[in-house]
Amino acid sequence: MRLSITVNGQAHTDDVEPRMLLAHYLRDVCGLKGTNIGCDTTSCGACTVHVDGESVKSCTVLAVQADGAEVTTVEGLAATRPGPDGMHPVQAAFRAEHGLQCGFCTPGMVMATAGLLAENPKPTEREVREALEGNLCRCTGYHNIVRAALTAAESMAASE
């Protein structure tokens, strides 16, 4: 089936099986391996990307359902708001607060956090935790991820 889609600002047209998951399309067809897959049940959020500016779990979206959409993956996030270190403020905050260890949940966690801050630029700690309830991390205990989200909110507000 014919699929036309914009990924990280770049137009793609491909023939794909209807059952191909968006996550596999991004990884195997576009070669963007940053988006990881951590579960089978839409539970872990490792595959979170933005579709038309909103965070979604790309393991539970058919690639054909994203026809005509603009998709942003972790590889394309920085370009949407580059900071002095070449990273998006959310990425920079994750580094500053040590919000990642093994890194596997990180692309999804970063995209979910960026999505949260787009909808709620000044979240409380509780709001951050609830907004990230669909993103699982086995390494950090969430402590520094929550710090990173709050730090990113501050730095983005300061640079508005």
Partner: protein, 769 residues
Amino acid sequence: MTAVDLPRGSILGTRVQRLEDPEFLTSGAVYTDDIVDERLAGAVWVTFVRATVAHASIASIDASAALATEGCVGVITADDLVDVPAPKPMMPIYQAGMAQPLLATGRVRYVGEPVAAVLTDSRYLGEDIAESVEIDYEPLPVVVDPIEAARDETLLFPELGTNVVCSREADAGGDIFADCAVVVTGTIHNQRVAVAPMEVRAAAAVWGTDDRLTAWVPNQGAQGTQAGLAGMLGLPVAQVRIITPAVGGAFGAKVGADPEAAVVGWIARHIGRPARWLETRSENMVGMTHGRAQVQTVTIGGDRDGNVRAYRLHVLQDSGAYPRFGAMLPTLTLLMAPGVYDIDQLELSYTSIATNTTPVGAYRGAGRPEATAAIERAMDLFAAEIGLDPAAVRRRNLLPAFTEPITSKGGAAYDSGDYTMALDTVLAAADYDGLRREQALRRERGDAVQLGIGVSVYVEITGGGGEAGASKENATVQVHPDGSATILTGTSPHGQGHSTVWAMLASEETGIPIERITVRWGDTDLVPEGGGTGGSRSLQQGGAAVRQAARELVDVARARAADRLEVSPDDLEVDYANAGLAVRGVPGAGVTFAELAADEVLLVRSVFRAPGATYPFGAHVAVAEVDVETGRAELTRLIALDDAGIVVNPLIAEGQRHGGLAQGAAQALLEEIRYDEDGNPTTSTFADYPIVSATEVPSFELVTTETPTSYNPLGAKGIGEAGSIGSTPAVQSAVIDAVAHLGVRHIDMPTSSWRVWSAIRAANEGAEH
């Protein structure tokens, strides 16, 4: 007292941001399934067909439909693996004849056991075609409960006549509780949990023109994985090369090699194409080793003043269907049984038993969290029985502070510790007295939401194993003519930040900026020896080796520089600003390491040997709110003191503690692998198995003290597992404490709302009768 001489004011001890992060954050790290490599071009995709019944004879396997499907390259069963050696016990103490074959042979013994491997041209076809492999099972009686398995009525290995994998009897002595005025006993389930790293298992393999197997496998130590794969395949170790991609978490379950990885290697060798495999999460939940899984029977005795005199612990370890590392966990549990306490009389024993369940392996802490959980719950039971404050009873029984090694009654050689300091410090940080006052108020008012406070004090073992089983590790430091440096390490990070910390250690000695230092590991061609990362050993052995190698490199450079500059080596000092050596008192006279490297290779490999394991310690306080009407428990505070000696990078050490705290709390509150009576797993997806999320844990309150060890020049002990050791019993006890006034003494983990509510109701009924 110690050999510690860290120059403060240096990069060490500072919160250096990780060097590896920009890649992880902007493009993602390259995990096994992400690898794009010419050597893997044209790889077949491997999909395992797994047992769907817990115990059965395999009457037949019919792969004809699968083989007739377009895109199917082949189907491999145990019958095909004629050239692999018979499986060997992982530990000499294990009953021979229980080791797991690469593919089920004649019989399946747990749901999820690999039975066949389907080879296809693509990933998507693999799942389709695997469904069409028909396996005819003749069901056998199933035993899931280790207590039932210990009766040896239903046998997994009938020819052996027993389900016992290994055991240790208690020393035959008299009644150790004869002099105790108070004796309390209880059975504590330290439940089976999923290790559940976010990255599942995977492998890629190719049989190369060099007549060797090259395999990419997520692991915790390439050398151990190399030995494991070679052993399973019957190949000389030299004929297997492991390359370690980024590893998405491991927590003990990626040590060595699993049978599936060996099958992938076998396929690559025998079918003339590279092979790749990535399991699904649903497979991972039944195929990767589980953790914990002990039934502990504790008896504790003492006097009414709170002095504990005697402690008996019997561990019934569920090893799962085939003994892996889990079957020997009790040896560590018993070694650490008395923990931080000075108890005269101990009686320790264990039995490891096979059941029709997924094999049990190491999981963050591996045997030590179980020891702490048992003694800490026993302390609470004892304190409740005599009506004294649980923190006060603990303090009364703690070993006094020591700076020279002592031998515990459990047989462990504790290196240094000050447990009373740890307990008192954390109690003060938590405002323990204030919490008790708040608790009393709520009890008096009869609030629906009651407050519970749990306390634990722990000591654990780190750096017990190591390269070739010894407490040693190697490191190579090389400076290049462009002034950059490379470190090779036998340790193997999967989130712990070695690239940053090893660079800090080498930079400290040489002045080379950390950004110019590259750390490499996990390729057995590059680093043939090494102990990997596990048991919280990396910094104290691998880091110490880096420091030692860097110092020796400076010595080599000093000798060469002395020749070159025609001065005495004693007149040369490290010029940190220029990353070289300078002639003392002669401005401008010197040579950089880069210049020396341009003349002649500047490289030192060094092996650091530690006298033995180190014993970090700490104390945790957990605060829980429990809704007594519904039984729902919420963890509201977790205050943790973890003393792992000298900290090199606090940012990273704190992160290790946070992660451990959450995993430990998750065991107390939420997580449990469950089976129905037929051995079917009922928690085999992330929708059913409650991996803790950000909404169930609070931000943690860390208290840090640094009691150095003399066992390495960094003064460092391990920190990777500490958080998960103290937190579990603290959180469990906090939940129980919240309803203690209602007559509840114990609630097994996880302390689900149903369990808490049932315990309250049972206590009420007990009070009425």
